[in-house]
């Protein structure tokens, strides 16, 4: 952990060297999610609700997903570089070092410009928390906390799967984007609006709905069962198959030789 903190401050310092570039990129990130927010706003200036969710309630799910994603991206960016690491042989060097592969991957890259997105999420959250009409109580705040933390763990697991695929293909796979970028893009609305089939898929296969739709129902007081409150924790079980797949990929690894 101490070593990770060292890497943390190293990356922070190195990115802070180019301050203008850093702020511009962070601003760009902010703007990117801001246009998505505007899209939601425009839709709700025409329609009052969607599938029984009002504007401020939708904003809750938007902000939670955005926050979870930006946290996962900030710390899990190393997985993004994984295909390149395999391709240029850097990975072979990592294998001989006495630290776990995942640790080294994470320590290799951290991207603090993602704070731009997190800031957007925070602002929307600050607006939506009072505006959503939720009767806030400690257990509901705890649920919100679980949604964000477990959400970023699931995104994290998805990044890990993305990296694991590159053991077999060497190239990165674009289709994983539909779950990562798509998860945050489409997670702006509660997943139930996409229909029964997709909701089921996002519950049992890629459990993104477990950190968004079900606990949201609990927050809004539409479901009282503790099952809904602790749904995000169940979602984190997803880390196990993701990690297993990564280990499997690792065991199949053959160096590209360069």
């Amino acid at each position: 952990m101490g070593l990770y903190m060292k890497f943390f401050s190293m990356h922070l310092k190195s990115q802070m060297q180019y301050k203008t570039s850093f702020y511009f990129t962070a601003l760009g990130q902010f703007l990117a999610s801001f246009t998505v927010f505007l899209g939601i706003y425009f839709m709700f200036s025409i329609f009052e609700e969607v599938e029984g969710f009002a504007f401020s309630e939708v904003l809750l799910s938007f902000a939670v997903m955005l926050m979870a994603f930006s946290l996962a991206e900030m710390f899990g960016r190393g997985f993004d570089l994984f295909p390149r690491m395999l391709g240029n042989g850097q990975f072979d060097r990592a294998l001989v070092r006495p630290r776990s592969i995942i640790f080294q991957t994470l320590a290799m890259q951290m991207d603090f410009t993602r704070l731009g997105r997190a800031a957007q999420a925070l602002i929307v959250l600050i607006y939506a928390i009072p505006a959503s009409g939720v009767h806030w109580s400690p257990d509901r705040f705890f649920t919100l906390f679980l949604m964000i933390v477990c959400g970023s763990l699931i995104f994290f697991a998805l990044f890990m799967i993305y990296a694991a695929f590159s053991f077999f293909t060497v190239e990165g796979l674009e289709f994983m984007n539909i779950f990562t970028d798509g998860g945050v893009q489409f997670g702006r609305y509660p997943f139930s609006i996409y229909g029964e089939g997709i909701l089921r898929f996002l519950t049992f296969v890629i459990p993104l709905a477990l950190v968004q739709y079900y606990p949201l129902l609990y927050l809004l007081g539409r479901e009282d069962s503790l099952l809904y409150m602790f749904a995000p924790l169940m979602g984190t079980i997803f880390l196990l198959p993701a990690y297993g797949f990564f280990r499997f990929g690792l065991s199949q690894y053959k160096s590209t030789g360069s």
Binding site: T20, A32, T35, L38, F47, E48, F175, G182, Q185, F186
Partner: protein, 267 residues
Amino acid sequence: MKKYFAIFHIRFVNTLQYRAAALAGLSTQFAWGFMLIFSFAAFYRVNPNSFPMEFSHTVSFIWIQQAFLALFALWFWDDDIANSILDGGIAYDLVRPINLYGKWFSTSAAKRLARAVLRCIPILFVAFILPAPYRLILPPSLLQFALFILSTTLGLGVVVAFAMLVYTSLFYTVSPSGIRVMVMVLGDFLSGGIVPLPFFPAPVRNVVELLPFASMLNMPARIYSGSIAGMDALSGILLQCFWLAALVLIGTLISRRVLKRVIVQGG
């Protein structure tokens, strides 16, 4: 002119080589298109009357957007051009007897077209045979289809000409990612990439429809679906011509000025 077509041709064939990447991209775009359509369908179910476009138009818009993503997406970034500016490779280009702006314009356009050709056929094919409300329908008339083709060509021109302005900004700032991300993101939004322009509130929309971004994805996709037809389509195409001419003019002027002063460090 011939040499620019030759450059176009080389790039085109070169990009066609990456078939596996195109296949992976395809499945993503399908899923993406479906999710978008489902989200609009959910709003449509709430109140069909206040839906500002016909639902079938929205569906067509989304499929055209997905099929021709490579043509119109502003965030496709031509690394070769950027790198030649950043690593000094531009020096080779400058000694060749061709106009740099023309060369870059044709390579970018070719790259986009080649990617789009690979991707659009399967997407369009499947989108045509989907069940009813989600199906891509044919344009209302042959004339409308002809206008769509014309508008697509112009739209591609406007996108490339606009991207060229961003590339030239590289001469001034070496670390461009911030400005690039901002411009691209905003442009995508204003061309209807997130929600089509008819969903914008009226006062905003009146302004946005005149911007160059409205001449990108917005115009061809809406002409195809029939959401813009007849005289409106013609005046839209005129607006596209205007922006294409204006952006190319500005781009040439800037690049000429910049190239006079460019210093390539040796090494």
